[in-house]
């Protein structure tokens, strides 16, 4: 009974933690962008503008939640829920420190990939059900982009899986006791990072919502709480991708001196900041550049990485 209670508490803490961290990312991102663009960012509401998130939430809660009369209503309502659910569920497989994990699946990594592939639906359906041109264009782009980047996101992780010999994230973290995988799997790390950027459709890969061309892409018609869910979904994705990078390539909760419960969030925070730095620095590529970069450079690279890892491992085992 106690164990079940512990599990429930862990799940709740992870849920609330993930939600509140991603909500406060709104503040963090705006402040950091401000820092890198020689300005302040939100600093009016509360100390350092920390309550800006609350203000935004209150605003979003009380906005009119408008469903366009031409939209496909059930699907329109379903789409943001899919996004949030599909990005929130994989938090369950991440080991935050030894023993603290919601569900230690032996296919944890595959579970993450499965949920990542499901989150495409939120975008595609959101764009389609709005029944207007810019959302549709945005979701067309999103479908093609997410499907292509998903392919080698999976492939780039297979090197890690080979080295750890398991799909379970806990086993992968354990296997990095001696050496973090970011060194032997550097190519895999870079490819996964780029694919993660594209999967969360963050700048510079935010073509599905490119403001200058598509207004705001697939969520043009959304307002109020539903728009807020898309927004939080995006930040949940950013947090999760950073968590995955830290877990898979940077030794997860492992690290000297400090307790494990500090190490993983610390590493994650570094990668979140890197995500935001990339947003502050890089311009958006053209769509065909994006696709040819994916298929002509990253896919062969990840295949090569896979082959090389397999070869080296075979030689070492013998």
């Amino acid at each position: 009974m106690n164990e079940i209670l512990l599990h429930i508490i862990i799940a709740l803490v992870v849920l609330i933690g993930a939600m509140s961290v991603s909500a406060s990312l709104i503040w963090l991102e705006r402040r950091l962008l401000g820092v890198w663009q020689d300005r302040y960012g939100p600093n009016r509401v509360g100390p350092f503008g920390l309550f800006q998130v609350m203000a935004d939430m209150i605003k979003i809660f009380f906005k009119e939640d408008w469903i366009p009369p031409f939209a496909d209503k059930p699907v329109f309502v379903l789409a943001p829920a899919i996004i949030v659910a599909a990005t929130l569920i994989p938090y369950a497989v991440i080991p935050f420190s030894p023993g603290i994990v919601v569900a230690n699946l032996n296919i944890g990594l595959l579970f993450f990939l499965a949920m990542a592939s499901l989150s495409v639906y939120g975008i595609v359906l959101g764009g389609w059900s709005s029944r207007s041109k810019y959302p549709l264009l945005g979701s067309l782009r999103a479908t093609a982009q997410l499907l292509s980047y998903e392919v080698f996101m999976g492939l780039s992780l297979m090197g890690v899986v080979m080295m750890a010999g398991s799909f379970s994230l806990e086993a992968i973290v354990e296997a990095q006791r001696g050496l973090w995988f970011c060194i032997p799997q550097f190519a895999g790390f870079v490819i996964f990072f780029i694919a993660g950027l594209a999967e969360t459709h963050r700048l510079p890969f935010d073509l599905p919502e490119a403001e200058s061309e598509l207004i705001s892409g697939f969520h043009t018609e959304y307002s109020g709480l539903k728009f807020g869910m898309f927004f939080v979904g995006e930040y949940l994705g950013v947090t999760f991708t950073s968590l995955m990078i830290a877990t898979l390539f940077f030794g997860g909760w492992q690290g000297p001196l400090l307790p494990p419960i500090v190490w993983l969030p610390g590493k994650t925070l570094v990668f979140i900041c890197l995500f935001i730095l990339i947003r502050a620095a890089l311009p958006r590529p053209r769509y065909d550049q994006l696709m040819s970069f994916a298929w002509k450079i990253l896919l062969p690279l990840s295949l090569l990485n896979l082959l090389a890892t397999a070869g080296v491992l075979l030689i070492l085992r013998k």
Binding site: G34, V35, W36, D38, R39, Y40, L277, I278, A281
Partner: protein, 171 residues
């Protein structure tokens, strides 16, 4: 690829730069001398209204926000009976200031005016008039102009010869 990393590093270094933002309500903004803000009507150094109600400002105004009515006092000096600027229309372009022959209408540095009621944005003459000569402290139109409206007699203004006595035969 290298250029991307260089860009990232360059942007990262901005962390250590000072910020461009001026925290406006707490920190005063710069005061450029030719700023175009709220419009005022000024007095000449004698303490009389400069405005001669020539309607040039009203004609120059691209958004037609200036309305006035000319009148004359006992000396024949023109003045506006009413002078009304609708600041909810005004675009602060400064054309009226350029058009004014007497430096009566001037734009100031003040821009902090906002109202809950739109009618309060309509400024009457008494709201517009200030108690001084504004940007041109020494200029007095009727000391330069040739007309006599009680300020001085004919031919007494600066750089002006005394009036010719047309009845005298002497040159």
């Amino acid at each position: 690829m290298l250029s991307i990393l260089r860009t990232l590093w360059g942007v990262f270094l901005h962390m250590f730069r000072s910020r461009e933002t001026i925290q406006y309500p707490e920190q005063n903004i710069l005061d450029p001398p030719r700023f175009r803000g709220r419009i005022i009507l000024s007095l000449d150094p004698d303490g009389q209204e400069r405005c001669v109600a020539c309607y040039l400002c009203s004609a120059a105004c691209p958004v037609d926000c200036i309305a006035l009515q000319a009148a004359q006092d006992v000396n024949g000096r023109r003045y506006p009976e009413f002078f009304r600027i609708n600041f909810s229309r005004c675009i602060l372009c400064g054309f009226c200031e350029e058009a004014c022959p007497t430096y009566a209408i001037q734009l100031t540095n003040d821009f902090e005016f906002s109202e809950y009621d739109r009618n309060n944005m309509v400024y009457e003459k008494e709201d517009l008039l200030i108690s001084g000569p504004g940007k041109h402290p020494d200029y007095n139109f009727f000391r330069v102009a040739g007309v006599a409206v009680g300020v001085k007699g004919k031919g007494e203004s600066e750089n002006e010869l005394p009036p010719v006595d047309v009845r005298s035969l002497l040159p």
